[in-house]
C-alpha cells in the first residue's frame, strides 16, 4: 500500500520524488509494483543500489529520509505501533513478523505516515507490544526520548486521516473520506476518538490519478498476477 501510494505520487504530481526501499534501492522507479521491498524491479531502474548496512546507516540514520511509510497491526492514540505480537511476548496468541526496519524509520525519518485499516482490533487503547515509537505518551515525551524527526504526522486509514494534536500529540480525526460518518470512525476506534471541530472531507482521487493507479495495478497483475504488496 505505501509502495502503491508513493509510486502513484511519482507518476502524477511528484515526478521528482526519490523512493528509497530498505533493500538498498535509492531512486527506485518501478514500472510495476513490487511484491516485496527487495524485488529486482526496484533495482532495475534505481539511481543506485547500495548494501543493507549503507541504506540503514548513511541514508536512514544519516537523516536523509523525509517521509517514512509504516504499516502496523496495532496503533495507539499516540501513533505508537505494534508489529511484533498479539498477546504476551513469551507466549503470543499471534506471532507477527516483527520489527523489520520500522523502529529506526520511526525514530530517524523526518516524519512518518502510517497507513492502516481502521478497526477496533487495530486501533487499540493499549498496544500488546510497542515495536516502534510514535508520539510515545504524547506532549513532548517523544522529543525528550531521543527520537529524531516529527514522528507520525498522519495516520491514513480506510475511513479518514488522523493527525496529532499540536500540543497533546493525540491522534485526532481531521479528515474523513466521502461517504464515511464520524460515528463509523468512532466505532472503529478502540479509544474515545478525538474529532477536529472542523472536519475536512478528503478530496476524492482525480480521474487522472485513478486511471494512473488502475494502469499501475493492471501492469502489476500482468507482471506477477498480483496487485503488488510490501513487507
Amino acid at each position: 500500500m505505501p509502495s502503491a501510494a508513493a509510486n502513484l505520487a511519482r507518476l502524477t504530481h511528484a515526478p521528482g520524488v526519490v523512493l528509497i526501499y530498505e533493500s538498498g534501492t535509492i531512486g527506485a522507479k518501478p514500472d510495476v509494483l513490487p511484491l516485496s521491498i527487495g524485488d529486482g524491479e526496484l533495482a532495475e531502474h534505481a539511481d543506485t543500489v547500495v548494501s543493507i548496512p549503507e541504506i540503514f546507516r548513511y541514508w536512514l540514520q544519516g537523516g536523509r529520509v523525509d517521509v517514512g511509510f509504516l504499516g502496523a497491526a496495532q496503533v495507539d492514540r499516540f501513533g505508537n505501533i505494534n508489529t511484533t505480537v498479539i498477546g504476551d511476548y513469551a507466549h503470543p496468541k499471534v506471532r507477527l513478523p516483527g520489527a523489520g526496519g520500522a523502529p529506526e524509520i520511526a525514530s530517524n525519518a523526518k516524519q512518518t505516515w502510517i497507513i492502516i485499516k481502521q478497526t477496533k482490533r487495530s486501533f487499540v487503547p493499549k498496544l500488546d507490544f510497542m515495536t516502534s515509537v510514535g508520539h510515545l505518551e504524547g506532549g513532548d515525551s517523544r522529543a525528550r526520548s531521543g527520537a529524531r524527526g516529527a514522528g507520525p504526522t498522519a495516520v491514513i486509514t480506510d475511513l479518514g486521516v488522523l493527525t496529532p494534536d499540536p500540543v497533546t500529540r493525540e491522534l485526532t480525526l481531521t479528515a474523513i473520506h466521502p461517504g464515511i460518518t464520524v460515528e463509523q470512525a468512532k466505532a472503529a476506534t478502540g479509544w474515545e476518538l478525538k474529532v477536529a471541530p472542523t472536519l475536512a472531507a478528503t478530496a476524492p482521487p482525480t480521474a487522472a490519478e485513478l486511471a494512473t493507479l488502475r494502469e499501475l495495478h493492471a501492469r502489476t497483475a500482468r507482471a506477477h498476477g498480483t496487485p503488488g504488496a510490501t513487507e
Binding site: G38, G40, E104, L136
Partner: protein
Amino acid sequence: MTAKIMPLAEAVARHVKDGQTVALEGFTHLIPFAAGHEVIRQARKDLTLVRMTPDIIYDQMIGMGCARALVFSWGGNPGVGSIHRFRDAIENGWPKPLAIQEHSHADMAGRYQAGASGLPFSVLRGYVGSDLPKHNPNIRSIECPFTGERLAATPAINPDVTVIHAQKADRKGNVLIHGIVGIQKEAVLAARAAIVTVEEIVDDLAAPMNACLIPHWVLSAVCHVPMGAHPSYAHGYYGRDNAFCKAWDGISKERETFLAWMQKHVMGTKDHAEFLRSAGIAMETARA
C-alpha cells in the same frame, strides 16, 4: 582458507555441523534455498539460525527441526503473509521450542558489520521507545564519550558458517554479486567459514572495478547450483516465483501437508536439480 569448488552436499557435510550458529543470508534477492534444503537433507540439528528476514527457507528448516534458536529482525513471507512453521514453533513449540533473539533490520545490519569489522559490538541510534530491549538482553546501551548521548549497543554476529547465493564465480572461486547486494558481504566476512552457491561458473567475471566481489581466499566452498535461489530470484537469471511463494502459504499451513511436501520434494531427492524436477519447477519458466 582457499576456495574449493565442490558439490553442495560435500560443502554442507564438511562445513555445517550440529549445534553451530549458521546464517543463510540474502535480502529477498539471492536467498540460498538450495543450500538450506541440503542442510535439511543432511538433518542438521540444534542450529542457531541467524537471518534478517527468515522467510520460506527458514520456515522449512524450523519446521523440519533443524533449529533450536533464531536470531532475526523480520519473519514472514514477503507480500504473502505469515510463515506458519515459524509461528507454530514460537506459538506452540512444534516440532520443538524455538528460542528467539529479536532485533531490528538496522541493528542486525550493524551486528554483521561489527562482526566483519573485528569489533565486539555495534552502536545504533535506535530502539527509542521500543519494547524490544526489554525482551532481548543483547540490546544494551552505551554512552557517547563526547556528547553523553545514550545509544543502543549490540554484540557482533560472527556465525560459524555463512551461506549465500550469488550470480557468478570464476574458476578460482572469486564471487560476483550484483543488484540488491543486501548484507551478504558482511555476513561472509563475519563468519568463520563461508559457502557460496552460484548460478554460473565462468572464465572471467568481467566485474566492474568497484563491484561487490568476494575474493576466493575468504571462502570455504563455492558450489555450482543453477536456480539455487528459487523461489527467490537471481537478477539477470530468473525472476521471483511468486506463484510458489503464494502456494507455500497453503502447503505450510498444516503440519501434515508441510511434512508430506518436505518428505517428497526435499528429503526424497538427492540434490537441487532433482528437487526442481520433483517440485515441478521448470528451469526455463523462471528465466528472466
